[in-house]
């Protein structure tokens, strides 16, 4: 299969969906002529023109709320918020409006709104440009949350988001944009929400890895394999809906679970997953459920501090070895 980057995969999904359905349009800051600050929408303005690839003022609330209004009228907006940190500027529109429009209308309103947003630390971008806010929104019923980790998943999940009838927060890790991988060319290639990806099979322990942590989990699994430990690596791909069955199945198979994400540890996505496994799979577990996550401090600027805060391969290894009977790191 031909290989393209994560950014190209997203662009391809956007382009294909815009050709397929005239109601799909893009709006956001610097997405048009400039092609997006990360270059993701490059070329789409030239191809589809200023109406369908719409540059906006710096007005996140109106970007999301405007998208919501248009979505309820039958359009399929894909709005872009440049950094996950800025989602808070549109907080009300996301949490009180988009998430609730369908429910409050007794199921009469349809909300086919996709909010594309970057997540994660790009390196020394400090406290207001590095956060992984996925779980802030997991507590809000009515929002779907996708966190693709590979180019193929990015393409397939984005198409599902755009074709779906519900508001989706689509989190793209900034450090993944340049990563290459095989991506199907079939314009109808989609990946359903709520279907985890078994990225590596193993018998000894399960690493549940989210977004940018998938590659690190696979790297850790390779290293563990050298030590005779076979780790299974699962990427849930969407946090809402969550593929509970796949996670429980894997926990039941290995009896040991590490959850890795770049969001802060406290009340991060891992807290929900761990609680779920504690409720529904505790009888299979041979040890505590371990979370590998960012420390509970704002992301600092200085590289030496940032490295302390962000979770890495070593942290996954330490958690895995501990579960396998080693000392706690």
């Amino acid at each position: 299969m031909r290989e393209i980057t994560f950014a190209e995969a997203i662009r391809e999904a956007l382009r294909e969906e815009m050709h397929r359905d005239a109601s799909v349009f893009i709006m956001g800051e610097d997405v048009g002529v400039f092609g997006g600050v990360f270059g993701v929408t490059a070329g789409l303005y030239e191809e589809f023109g200023p109406d369908r690839v719409r540059d906006t003022p710096i007005s996140e609330s109106a970007i999301v709320g405007g998208g919501l209004g248009a979505a309820m009228m039958g359009m399929r907006p894909v709005v872009e918020i440049m950094f996950g940190d800025f989602l808070m500027c549109a907080g009300d529109q996301i949490v009180n409006q988009a998430a609730k429009a369908r429910y409050m209308s007794g199921g009469k309103a349809k909300v086919p709104l996709t909010i594309r947003v970057t997540t994660g630390a790009p390196g020394s971008a400090a406290a207001q440009h590095s956060q992984s806010p996925e779980s802030w929104f997991m507590n809000v019923p009515g929002l779907k949350i996708a966190v693709p980790a590979t180019p193929a998943d990015a393409k397939g999940l984005l198409k599902t988001a755009i074709r779906g009838e519900d508001p989706v927060l689509f989190f793209e890790h900034k450090m993944l944009y340049a990563v290459r991988g095989p991506v199907p060319e079939d314009p109808d290639f989609t990946i359903p929400f709520g279907a985890a990806n078994l990225a590596r099979a193993g018998r000894d322990l399960t690493i549940i890895a989210i977004g940018g942590m998938l590659a690190k989990a696979l790297e850790a699994a390779d290293a563990l394999s050298q030590e005779g430990i076979e780790a299974e690596v699962i990427d849930p791909r969407t946090l809402v809906p969550l593929d509970k069955d796949a996670l429980i199945r894997s926990a039941a198979k290995t009896g040991r679970v590490v959850i890795a994400h770049e969001a802060h540890k406290r009340a991060g996505p891992g807290a929900e997953i761990a609680a779920l496994l504690a409720e529904e799979a505790v009888e299979y577990l041979d040890g505590p459920i371990m979370r590998v996550a960012a420390k509970n401090v704002p992301i600092p600027y200085s590289p030496v501090l940032e490295e302390e805060v962000l979770p890495g391969v070593d942290d996954i290894l330490a958690a895995a070895r501990f579960l396998m009977g080693g000392a706690k790191a």
Binding site: F34, P57, S124, A125, A126, V304
Partner: protein, 323 residues
């Protein structure tokens, strides 16, 4: 106020310090000494200098993702800013903030706010406190024209107006918000025209003319000190550099850039100083040397300063007795 009542040499020194500091930052960035990204202030120095010349140490300043110039003009030490950019523990934010959050509350500058427009409510709140607690302390909020389209900015300015808060909003209209030209984000000609809608004076000024900025800011700040209410100043200017580190500047023409380069506020002020007989080429050369020495010292300090210790990551999330 005539030209001679304005501290033009002092303004020149401030502007040149900002310019040379920024040029050095850019160089150090290219050398890989400074990580991440940089939003440089090159071309806009007259605004920071002209406004901050009226501020006392205990006045509050609220800045943006492009804060180095504001910080220098407000009196944050260049060496502490440089060390911050290096991520050193001697930096003005102990390495935790970096370029987009420089500031030092001890000299009245809040850590800069990198969420566009989010500093406007803070400035209103600081002004509210100042009105309560002090006779004549003021707060100043710098923001770009792009930020003017954030809801937070409207909310804050309206509140400042209804409560007659001693705050001066300084909109630096450099014609582009990242890649977005002013004309694409505004239906009106001047951001300052919005002041009428909030019910405060709105003034447009040539932001590349430090004398004009100094005069307009002086009036607005005096008005705030007299507790007569807020002002919105729009300084028309241009950043003579990219938005951030990796900006190909495809959204504007080289011709336009050249036109604005001719209006560079620093040579313009140098010309004025000579015209008014306030400086000779020798005076200017010696200021240049002083400034270079200051920047050299700042870089040396940053280079030689220690990195933070890993344990420091966990400090400062909450207040503690130890600080």
């Amino acid at each position: 106020m005539s030209g001679s009542e304005i501290p033009l040499l002092q303004l020149y020194r401030t502007m040149l310090t900002i310019r040379r500091f920024e040029e050095r930052c850019n160089y150090l960035f290219m050398q890989g000494r400074i990580p991440s990204t940089l939003h440089l202030y090159i071309g806009q120095e007259a605004v920071a200098a002209g406004v901050c010349a009226h501020l006392r140490r205990d006045d509050y300043l609220f800045s943006t993702h492009r804060p180095h110039g504001h910080a220098i003009a407000k009196g944050v030490e260049p060496r502490a800013i440089m060390a911050e950019l290096y991520g050193k523990r001697t930096g003005c934010c102990k390495g935790k903030g970096g370029s987009m959050h420089v500031g030092d509350v001890r000299v009245g500058m809040f850590p800069a706010v990198a969420i566009v427009g989010a500093n406007a409510p803070l400035a209103a709140g600081a002004a509210l406190a100042a009105k309560w607690l002090d006779k004549d302390r003021v707060s100043v909020c710098f923001f770009g024209e792009g930020a003017a389209n954030e809801g937070a900015v409207h909310e804050a300015m309206n509140m400042a107006a209804i409560w007659d808060l001693p705050v001066v909003y300084v909109c630096e209209n450099n014609l582009y918000a990242a890649s977005t030209p002013f004309s694409k984000a505004f239906k009106i000609q001047n951001v300052a025209d919005r002041a009428a809608a909030y019910g405060m004076p709105g003034v447009v000024v040539d932001g590349n003319d430090v004398e004009a900025v100094y005069r307009v800011a002086g009036e607005a700040i005096a008005r705030a000190r007299r507790r007569e209410g807020p002002t919105l100043i729009e300084a028309k200017t241009y950043r003579l550099c990219g938005h951030s580190r990796s900006d190909p500047r495809t959204y504007r023409s080289r011709e336009e850039e050249e036109e604005w380069a001719k209006r560079d506020p620093i040579p313009r002020l140098a010309g004025r100083l000579k015209e008014l007989g306030l400086a000779t080429d020798e005076t200017l050369a010696s200021i240049e040397q002083e400034v270079q020495a200051l920047i050299d010292e700042a870089v040396r300090f940053a280079e030689e300063s220690p990195l933070p210790e890993p344990e420091e990551t966990l400090q400062h999330v909450f207040w503690t007795e130890e600080g």
